[in-house]
């Protein structure tokens, strides 16, 4: 079973601060996806990273895929209250079952005004 460990599990910060969320595994993933989920809603895809070492930016969010494709990070610059939510990383297995997403437990981010 491929597992994704996310840290921290909870994060409460003030508006304007920077933060980084980590997603780690001992297994190699063919790709990693980051989702954001708000209460009562389904996860919404933020980004997909595919190539080891890849960096993608989405406004104030920066996503990085580790060189060995086993880990990823999400960095938010100058966080805003609208960034509040559950951030989930999810990976596609390498090999035959690469239709099955494995999710981490998520990081619950609260940005206080």
């Amino acid at each position: 079973t491929q597992l994704l460990e996310q840290s921290p599990q909870f994060l409460s910060i003030q508006e304007g601060e920077n933060l980084t969320v980590y997603c780690n595994s001992s297994s190699v993933f063919s790709s990693l996806q980051w989702y954001r989920q708000e209460p009562g809603e389904g996860p919404v895809l933020l980004v997909t990273v595919v190539t080891g070492g890849e960096v993608k930016k989405l406004k104030r969010l920066t996503f990085q895929f580790g060189d060995a494709r086993k880990d990823s990070s999400l960095h938010i610059t100058a966080a805003q209250p609208g960034d509040t939510g559950l951030y989930l990383c999810a990976g596609y297995n390498s090999g035959g079952s690469n239709y099955k997403l494995t999710f981490g437990k998520g990081t619950l981010l609260t940005v206080n005004p």
Binding site: L4, Q6, S30, S31, Q33, Y35, G40, E41, G42, P43, V44, L45, T48, L88, A90, Y92, S97, N98, Y99, K100, L101, T102, F103, G104, K105, G106, L108
Partner: protein, 114 residues
């Protein structure tokens, strides 16, 4: 609508009752997935359909769980003789194909078993 639609949004049932949860995927999406999300956890894979074929049901917790997609579009997840541990949010997702594609999620059905 253009997104994945799930119904009902909330379902309360007594222990031992049967329930049926519906998923209407994005039109034309070949692949459909069901996930279970417990409170404070990430979603966990239950089952996968490609068109009407159920290719993987390895995540279904017990034989009380049954899923179907008879015409390759709408899917139903049925839980028989519900137990309290079945209480969770059940998410449906679809993608244009299956392998390695971004998945589009519905807003889920929150199931509470009393």
């Amino acid at each position: 609508g253009a997104g994945v639609s799930q119904s009902p949004r909330y379902k309360v049932a007594k222990r031992g009752q049967d329930v049926a949860l519906r998923c209407d995927p994005i039109s034309g999406h070949v692949s459909l997935f069901w996930y279970q999300q417990a409170l404070g956890q990430g979603p966990e894979f239950l089952t996968y359909f490609q068109n009407e074929a159920q290719l993987d049901k390895s995540g279904l917790p017990s034989d009380r769980f049954f899923a179907e997609r008879p015409e390759g579009s709408v899917s139903t997840l049925k839980i028989q003789r519900t137990q309290q541990e079945d209480s969770a949010v059940y998410l449906c997702a679809s993608s244009p194909r299956g392998r390695g594609q971004p998945q589009h999620f519905g807003d889920g059905t929150r199931l509470s078993i009393l």
